[in-house]
Symmetry: D2
């Protein structure tokens, strides 16, 4: 019963097999391995973007921080939700990579709206040289609260960015889960909706540790390469990043694992709903924020279930008090584990 995070699951067998298979003999290092060519073509096909450039790194934070750094001057500010991963969970990595730039937090929780974003952007750069300048807009899709922007919502946000002539970054650590939830294409959720650069996550969705940065405007490609090296994120034995990503894209495995993770969450959410749990956020993809009584938490803890208690303390007297949990499903969780969890409720 492991619902603590989708970054705790195993590597998908097809990906592990590909790593093992690509392990024979020598391969040119630093991204010059032949598998990387395969990855490049697969990404371009997947995103319907024959000009796109693609680079691999091993962590989501690296993907985000490097992608943003290419579009941010040190005197700029990056616009994002006040619960964005780049703000809350990257220990100032975006600020570090962007040379000391600022993040402007759009209030209102996980989903920015055209109105809140417009207000936040309008409010900056009013002070000429005194305040920070307007930098990129970063959108997290799936949000950190498990919600998914519809394509219309996405387009409305990027339209605001474009009104101010600002580039748009998509933090897609759970990109696949969002595409699966929306039943759309990778292209529709990115450049067709006004996104300029994407962190295309693999790690949380069955890979070992790989994220692709996809740049629809190749002008920044060389700068990205230099920033990646300077950030110490250029792998010498790069072929093992390539192999993961190649297997992940091959036969649309990425969609398969995402669909499985989302289905797991739907099964869990349905069960929670049946048991009277209260949802803090719409469980659009593979994350659930739901409250249920302390007594149930106690039973689950005793049984060894792993998840974050989001609000409140399991220790306490009132057995009926509702405490919120964050429950994340990865592709590898079985129906039996979910049902076991629900049984303790």
């Amino acid at each position: 019963m492991f619902f603590a995070s989708d970054n705790a699951g195993p590597v998908h067998p097809q990906i592990m097999n590909r790593i093992v298979q690509d392990n024979a003999g020598h391969a040119m290092p630093y991204g010059n391995d032949p598998v990387m060519s395969e990855v490049r073509q697969a990404i371009r096909r997947t995103f319907e973007a024959p000009e796109a450039e693609v680079y691999l790194v091993a962590t989501g934070t690296a993907a985000n921080a490097l992608a943003l750094a290419c579009y941010t001057q040190p005197f700029d500010t990056i616009f994002c939700s006040n619960v964005a991963h780049i703000h809350q969970d990257e220990c100032n990595a975006p600020e570090f990579y962007a040379g000391g730039a600022k993040l402007t937090l759009v209030p209102g929780g996980d989903k920015m709206t055209p109105k809140t974003l417009h207000a936040a952007i309008s409010d900056e750069e009013k002070r000429g040289v005194h305040g920070p300048q307007r930098g990129p807009v970063s959108i997290t899709q799936v949000t950190e609260r498990g919600e998914v922007y519809t394509l219309d919502e996405l387009r409305a946000l990027t339209a605001v960015a474009k009104d101010f002539d600002l580039p748009v970054h998509l933090d897609g650590a759970r990109f696949a889960n969002a595409v699966a939830a929306l039943d759309c294409t990778a292209a529709e959720m990115t450049w067709k909706s006004g996104v300029d650069i994407v962190s295309f996550g693999g790690t949380k969705n069955g890979c070992m540790g790989v994220e692709a940065v996809v740049m629809f405007d190749p002008d920044k490609a060389w700068e990205f390469e230099l920033r990646r090296k300077r950030g110490a994120h250029l792998f010498s034995k790069h072929r093992y990043l390539s192999s993961q990503m190649a297997a992940y894209l091959d036969g649309e495995l990425w969609m398969e694992t995402a669909a499985a993770a989302n289905a797991n969450a739907q099964r869990l959410a349905a069960g929670l709903r049946d048991k009277g749990a209260e949802f803090l956020h719409q469980p659009d993809a593979n994350m659930i924020f739901a409250a249920f009584p302390r007594a149930a938490h106690k039973r689950l803890h005793a049984a060894g279930a792993k998840y974050y208690v989001w609000e409140g303390e399991v220790e306490g007297d009132d057995p009926d008090e509702m405490l919120a949990a964050r429950l994340v499903c990865d592709w590898s969780i079985s129906d039996a584990q979910i049902d076991q969890f629900l049984g303790y409720l």
Copy 2:
């Protein structure tokens, strides 16, 4: 015939097997996986340092830049050889991680001497607040030219550093090759010789992509963790770093692969010597810098041999002109490949 770099070889089967074996089920992310405890104990045992702290990252540049950043203020300068990897091959990563610090290049080539190091340190911080302040000394062992400092040489360098009260970093991307060459212990080559923090390389010596930073003074441990996260080098699926390092240390595999790589280089060097090649540097470990006639280079290139032409151009008329090559052997190279290479000479 692949002698371009030791980072181009495959993952050792014992390491790959361990990765596959540790792939079952869920594991806590971000270094809280149980295998990391095993690694910590193994490192402490290997280095005879029960208080040491150890952290894993995926690239040698990350290990170096993060280790140095913990000991460098932004107004400091780091002392290193003028051909050090941290100077020539890390695209300003040490400067980036140390907040804009400087590198002071000790002249004289790959091996610093107590005299050149003393002169370089003496020459800085003479200008009070105007110049950079003296920061750590970074020693590359094996050097970038394939030479190995003896323990006496190492101790003489760290004694100079200690005279100025400066910490010492060891860039051990090829740590195992040096230990094998010196037939000493990990402890002897580090804290027993005055080293404070080590980049203990795994990637070039049979791993997929893992380096351990070993801190003999645990005071900087938490700072290292924060800098690692801020640098985007904290892996969520950390267990796969742990598994590599666990297998690498298990049964002293690291010494076995290093001994194999060094033996390969000795075989190759012996053959080169027999054929009249001239050595630019003493081939102490697994790297050879040797010059041989253009005609031989042409034959090797035609046969598909991979290595760097270090000085000169293969294209050219005089078949007898001596051109230098850099030849690096990893553990996986067979005697047959070496003999094949020598055959073309």
Copy 3:
């Protein structure tokens, strides 16, 4: 009728005379001028702090950014009001000097309260290595909206900081105006109230361009000097900074000019109140935020009055619409100018 800013007024004659007087002959550069010794003693006397260290810089942003950098690690976050000068008006200088650290904005406007500050601090560093770490608290006194924290309010804020073991910085660009408003001593408003480091402003209050950073804990003194030099803020002809500050402190001129500026603002505020203006903030010192009808704004603009229209647009139809103005008084403004301004209302 110049109410745009207190940084637009002239240098006080006593200060200018001192500069001229100290201009004879040669003086040791870089802070080794004899006048600096006089300044050091005067600051220690003024702040009743015989151990304090003091350094001069030429801009308030430099004073703030350098002071904060000495107490901030790059993975930290600085706590300040959401309208603090360090956030809104320094173009990312604090982030730059602190190596990419973050600012956590305490909501609620110009004055932080123990409750809002406590909540903001509590909310950070919950995420272990993932989020930023808690850094210093920066308090702006006079606030950017012209209000002055009482000593009790100050002490309540620093008590919160101390509960979390965090250092406290006071941005005193208008330090003198606050001391004058509170009728307290410099010591009472700083170390006696729990402040660790102060930006003691001179520029806005009659100097040409000088701010003193006063450190009650001299442990960081040498680091400050290095950061000042690295930031390019160490003056070679430092004596002219010293002369300004010496004259400013001499005979408590700083209190005299601050009292004059505050009195000017009180006269202006009284007049505005009489004319029915509405106050957005309590005009505690020398800044006024007040709304009055568009028609009056139009008359003032036509007459050449200089001030910021804070909310709304002077162009517009409704002559009765209330538009807010920011009006700042420096020491040099005459009663006649104030009365002239009030005449146009």
Copy 4:
């Protein structure tokens, strides 16, 4: 007898008078003062560059670091002499402002040659993404050893830079002394010789603390303004920078003070030569590096003469041992002081 530095002399009376004169009433802050318009026109006229942009800062290090930052990416390296002020005397400010870029030191002492510069540039960027990329060339004129590049020498250096398509920065902390020495125009020594951006020094040559950054390509102007503000170098009471520079340029005062300083040095050098001193460098402008016997040093020290002993220790037995001195003349030094100094030799 003050020969320690040209930054220790007084402000020229014409400059001080202008400051006092411009002190009346209010003036718009942050560079919007009317005197700045006068400065802009005077600089354009002086440099025969009607499109040039000009900004004022208060220190030479700020001028250099900000100018270079506009032309340097954080993964670049800046080429300069190994005794350049930006390397030895700015406590990592250029590295700080350029986001952690590197300095490549061209060996051979104060004057770079086309050959040494070409070799240094050629040697970088050979390693693709692994090493730093080629950044601007920075030339110090007058050099830190008191020598002056001829226009031919300058043009030969900038031609090398242009061959590699690199921008050229001139550190002109002693710009006027060089122009006076060469008897050329400001234009000839800058854009007509291939210089892109200049630090035009005022502080050492009679001002209180002001340097102009002159950009012949105005494309970077706004970036410069933002970097200046972010670096905390934008003065609120900017008019006092403007006044200095206006007076400095007015009637070519800058040439007059430079000619005086150079003449002082020539008188001193002639006397030294007569007394048998040995010159370490050609005293082309207002700095002298010369060796004379210890006994003379002792007499000078006893008489209170101020200068740097460049090599050797005044304490010591052998009265005939030659010790080198650095002697710098500013415009304000009288013939009597020079003759008094020479008398002690």
